[in-house]
Amino acid sequence: MTGLARFLKKFFLVDILRGLLITLRYYFSPKVTIQYPERVRELPPRYKGLLRLHLDAKGEPLCIACLACQRICPTHCFDIAGERVPQRKTLWPVRYDWKLERCTFCGLCVEICPTSAIRFSPEFRMTLLEKDKVRFHYPDMYLEGEELQKHLCGGCLE
Amino acid sequence: MLDDLKDAPALKRVEESLRRRFGAALLAASFEKGELQFEAARETLSGVLEFLKTGLGFESLTDMIGLDLVASRPEGAGRFAVLYQLYKFPEALRVRLRVAVDDGEALPSVTPLFRAADWMEREVFDMFGIRFEGHPGLTRIYLPDEFEGFPLRKDFPLEGRERGL
């Protein structure tokens, strides 16, 4: 490119105008962000939201209190106790505490659970008012959707 | 001469020239998992590194690793060990030099040879308490200067001490 062409390009601000054209195109192109509470982005099935326990077909807890998840967890989030129950051979979970504030959502517990009792849910709303709501105790581990929100931040939804 | 070096001719040449140059001062040599490692005494450390850099062309000091072997050390050997991981650019060769250090002993600083060693030696000092003579400014790199104790030593409790600092 000859010196003159480069000078003319420089004098008539060609590079700056090209930049301005690009931003103008973006000004009129569709936007990336969405109006959050009104529209929520659809989450993929494997999304790592809050950990939830699950019941089997008969409504009994899938969890057999084998403590595999408690042992594998790098940040020691679990405190589980099971007891022998007449109606089935495996243990029945009596205490299943999960410390949300320690959890790094790494997924090792979900992977190692023999009966896949504990799984990630697409629930990403984790705002809560009282500090002790961070510790999930046994029955709360089954809450889903709106009841879970009611449990977490107590009725501000009305 | 290590027999299983035959499939790595370049490393074999390095091993031979080192043996020729230092002979007995080269305490041990091992070739496991494709990595050549030498053991040298504290006194000959600078000499060996100098030769490796200028003689054999290992210009890049990739890493310096401090070890606290209080649990797994053979009898009589120093409690600590410092490993120098070296690298030669064009031929992509890796060599590791190991030096045993006892508690309270100091190592000669290699900063004049490898400019990269400056912070690495400060980190080894910060974590293990191994001093390096001739280092331009041997102070702690991560922890505040008034911190007592060396965290990566095996006797340092995992949860830290009650006094916090």
């Binding site: 590079d15 931003t23 973006y26 997924g107 | 990269a116």
Partner: protein
Amino acid sequence: MAFKTIDLNMGPQHPSTHGVLRLRLAVDNELVLRVEPVLGYLHRGMEKLWESQTYVQAVPLTDRLDYLASLSNNLAYILAVEKLMGLEVPKRAQYIRVILAELQRLASHLAWLGFMANDIGAMSVLLYGFEAREGVLDVFEAYSGGRLTVHGMRIGGVPFDLDERVIGLVRRALDEIPRKVADIEGLLSQNRIWLHRTEGIGVLSAADAVAYGVTGPALRASGVAWDIRRDVPYSSYGDFDFAVPVFGHGDVYDRYLVRVEEIRQSLRIAGQALENLPPGDFRARVPRVLKIPPGEIFHSIEAPKGELGFYIRSDGSDKPERVKMRSPSFLNLQALELMCKENLFSDVVGILGSLDVVLGEVDK
């Protein structure tokens, strides 16, 4: 009247130090005389933690090292453990790992492009870079559920197979990124202000780069053609053909050019790996309680920031006796003083940005 230099503190809480880095500067009005980085504000004692956790439990911890490239950290640590065990990973898992690692390099470089441009004033490029990066994060989210700390690799292979949904997202990302990068280049590469702020600034000679242990794009911008993916191939990188961009001046502009070119190369590699993805299982059998016989190895990969290496020493138990991480940003940052001397204050921001330093990796 002796002229007093200002002792200026940049950080640890400053808009352009990308994390909690504190620079103690001696400044004569605008001219920088001394730069002394102060580290440790994000020191979490990773190496001590690793000694008290099993090999499997340590993987999610490596996500938090270079939190902009968590999959590269996973890959480096896992390859080191597999080399220590002498475990051979199935071909399909190696290809999936290459795709994930290259996508992670794209995400890291695009995030860097945004931060770098924003530091020098082009604020819109920050959003364009992040917009392009969203495509890659969607792949990670669909694949393993996490976007930033992804934990998408396991010892012995990868946690899931690539299903249609994930492959579709990868293809979409590989299509969109070139267009967005072209826009960003249109805004920056020939822009006179950008050229003026980056050309000839913070020059690092090849000899200094090697002496200071600088690796990665910064080293290749200084003219040393070294890329571990090509020179010491791992995880079947040898199967793909890609170019290693090398420039000669070693200034901020060349580091920008190297990373932009590397984005194009990563797109090629990920594309090739996706096209000829071999069949087979995606994860080798690994005993649940993993005990590794005594031994020690050092293994490093080409992470987006440079050579990320792990030295692991095992003592036969299920926990490593010692894990040392070789952090590229730590050593790249050491060369900052050399590059910033005799430059103006606003260049320190540019030079620091061009090194692409992430403090999670520096402070461990």
